[in-house]
Amino acid sequence: MAATVDVREINGAGAGTPTVVTAAKFCTADSNNPGTTNPIPIVTGQTKRSYWKSHELYLSGAYTQISNVYIYCDGTMFEAGMTTYIGDETLVAASYQEATGTPGDTGDEMVAQHTGITAKTNLNTFVIGAPKLVDAGPYSTPPERTKHVVLQLDVADTASPGEKGPEQLVFRYDEV
């Protein structure tokens, strides 16, 4: 039995409830599995946002060490008029904060409303040759949770309607 590593999305109030995600999707609700409900509307003259997403790795099984958790994309997340941001800070579980906003309309902007996030960067900045460090670790006593990232999708009025993706967002980690 080697390590089992799951990508989890944390939702809900308080400490939040983590759920393993295999088809993460941005929407205008605090939901890890929205399907096609609560899409992000395109409104002339406005930028609408998804609710922010909190994603972590959950480490279980048997391993000597897991370290060097990074995140990156292919540099072309979604399309024109759509910008995916990542909070500059990566946060321990105790710093989790529930995503807020107006369901079906827009999420609150992460830097303004998340107390653990002071700045954000376009996720397209982080590619395979220059990934963002999420958590150096090392972790060696399973089960454990890595720090989590905070992601948010902004949608301008120049975006085109429809269900988008999947996109090439990747978590990378080293296991011994």
């Binding site: 088809a23 993460a24 048997a62 391993y63 000597t64 996109e167 978590f171 980690y173 296991e175 011994v176």
Partner: protein, 130 residues
Amino acid sequence: MEYNPKIVKACPFPYYWSAKFADGEEVAQYTAEGEEVLYQEVLNRLEVGKGLSFIELVPLRKGLPLYRQEIDSTWQRPIVFRRHFVKPSTNEHRLMFALGWQATISGKNVKSIIYIDPDKHQILITSKDW
């Protein structure tokens, strides 16, 4: 090359590591019975000064080569790990294997690592982590 069916069944990866120490002892990621051994067993031996002769990545799939890193424990330390790539939007999971050595030379941690992609049959040899 013959494959131990118990290891093939137990190991979810196309490679497993196997270390041979200078005194002839072998410690591998899987025993002949297919029971997993953590790499900590190798680290424990190195910590008490036991010399390593070499460490290998042993293939469990036809057509894959064996990789061996010889180690002089008087100045080299082994590097072996698996690098995972996971896509949360599709749950796609890819894997690379890393094998090499590091040493402290003139106060600097010098590394030489070979990254092996068993699916693309590609290797990358580098002196830095990436």
